[in-house]
Subunit: 336 residues, 2 copies
DNA sequence: CTGAAAGCGCTTACAG
DNA sequence: CTGAAAGCGCTTACAG
């Protein structure tokens, strides 16, 4: 009973036979070429080329002590920056021997745990955690498996499971607030997202509050669901509480864009009548009019760094710092 | 020499022993529960629960005639709609037993071919092709393997490899042009992307031209690289050729947004002095001011349909239509 | 530098 | 409805 997964394709044995060597030698030509003599290597490579042989990565990963799969869960918040992050990882892994397995998360902890178990079934060599909310059960599961894990998250939070790559949303929001003060704005209000299970949102709000305390000014913060449709109501609330607000610092560019639109509706010029600042530096932040002044966190780079860190972690690199701060920058444009 | 991939985890045998059945029975409880008696099934499920057993999907897929992996290549054009498309697929597959393997493509055919070979190494049960340009060699490779393939692409193009899910960019651009004419615009100009290796761009330009011919009007079309920075130059060129242009139909929302910004710079009110229409319905299309009138192609739904089609194709569904048109709609907002 | 043997954890095909 | 045997295509560990 000969079963070939895909008829018409060859396996290691076929190549070995054709090249007059043992299957192990072919395996070594692919995986550890330096262990094979020049002559043998080039002969085997010739046969591989000639027969269009593609290594069965399924069998390869299966038979290894550690598979060549790396997992992550990406919540379906398109435009949230997760896409860039995944792209960064993906670019790193595609130059390595590892395949990134992306499972779709959603914002419920139960589903996310299911997704993780699902990926765990693929016996990954490592895991990148970029979704939230993270359930504690999940964190425990990952810890228990002793799997190399890199978390991408708010820097100042719980103890990392393993390695952490992050940015301080607190510091970023604090610095933006101080920056707005330096620009001469006196009355700085804040539009944030519910911190309910959302570390970053909470830290941004706290950063704003901290800066206002440093400045000895009255903080005016409203928070709502992280959706552009909240901006109209949020702005109304801000202007009720603090009618003389000079600038609204929005905890996301999406809020900022929607706020600018709402200003237009109300006949307020931005930034002359009311300035607006954002957070995140979306692709469109420089394109809309007025271009948005915002906090830039390089998500693509975060993804890359997370992937590189995981690779080093899997390789057992001892010189690895457990916590890495990738930083942020403030981009001044026209809206504030 | 006992090697366990992950210490502390159990395998089918462990469960079988504990439940007092054979490994095959455990396998059946998981894969074909209807073949197992109620009593045995619940006993085995109990043990699985109790021991926190996770099936080794690597071994499972490896030993099957057909793996539970499905591959796709996604080019890194964030915001191009590919993200929504992948999300749609992902949502379908996550409810199935299949794992979606996403490999990053780029816009070079050589690299894309490498990515596809890479995925083929994972012995996928099927493939979704959503990237372009597609090299002919690649198409041949896929055809040769007789792998179930679903292409997402321009509807009117080359003969599909296997199944095709698409939209007619030609028809969409044609209809938008006619729609603008119905709104009363006389002089309709077009800003498109280079059609160099880009089917959709070419079909959109052709659709515009066809509509203008039907209307017996002079077509004014400029094309440039698909990047917002082209809009300023593109608009200048349009206004040189046709200074009395009343509306610019942009072949992408990104162009439309950048064009609106350029209009502001020039002191042109949109839509009063110059109207602008887009294509694609980006998330931000309704949010910017003025909100963009555009062509909506539901990319998320396209992804879902592609995934469902592939699943049916893998299952050998004979009633499957080879070509599916998912259609488009025109969304009237403020910019035109 | 190269190879023969064993095994990874499942599923398939056959049998009862 | 249940099981014993064989095998999927590789890699590992040992030997020479």
């Amino acid at each position: 009973m000969l079963r070939r997964l895909h008829a018409g394709t060859f396996n290691l044995q076929d190549i070995a036979r054709r090249a007059g060597v043992s299957p192990i030698t072919v395996s070594r030509v692919i995986n550890k070429p330096e262990m094979v003599s020049e002559a043998t290597r080039s002969r085997v490579l010739g046969v591989i080329q000639e027969m269009g042989f593609v290594l069965n990565r399924l069998a390869s990963s299966f038979s290894r002590a550690s598979s060549r799969i790396v997992g992550t869960v990406a919540p379906p918040i398109i435009n949230s920056g997760i896409a860039e992050q995944v792209q960064g990882m993906s670019d790193v892994f595609s130059r390595s021997d590892y395949q990134l397995l992306v499972s779709p998360g959603d914002l419920s902890a139960e589903n996310e745990e299911r997704q993780i178990m699902n990926i765990l079934g693929w016996q990954p060599a490592g895991f990148i955690l970029q979704a939230f909310p993270e359930s504690d059960a999940m964190r425990e599961t990952l810890k228990l498996r002793q799997l190399p894990v890199v978390e991408i998250s708010e820097l100042v939070g719980k103890e990392p499971i393993d390695c952490l790559v992050g940015v301080s949303n607190y510091e970023a929001a604090r610095r933006m607030t101080l920056f707005l003060a330096e620009l001469g704005y006196e009355r700085i209000s804040f539009m944030g997202a519910h911190s309910h299970g959302n570390d970053r949102a909470m830290r941004r709000t706290l950063g704003y509050r901290a800066a206002m305390a440093e400045l000895a000014r009255q903080a005016v913060a409203v928070v709502g669901p992280l959706h552009p449709s909240y901006a109209a109501g949020g702005l109304r609330k801000i202007l009720e509480i603090a009618p003389n607000t000079e600038v609204v610092f929005c905890a996301s560019d999406t809020f900022a864009i929607a706020t600018i639109q709402e200003c237009r509706r109300r006949g307020l010029r931005v930034p002359e009548d009311l300035a607006v600042a954002g957070f995140g530096d979306l692709d469109l932040a420089p394109l809309i009019v007025p271009a948005i002044t915002t906090v830039r966190v390089d998500r693509y780079r975060m993804g890359r760094i997370a992937a590189e860190t995981l690779l080093r972690r899997i390789a057992g690199d001892a010189s690895l710092e457990r916590i890495q701060d990738v930083g942020f920058s403030i981009v001044r444009r026209e809206s504030a």
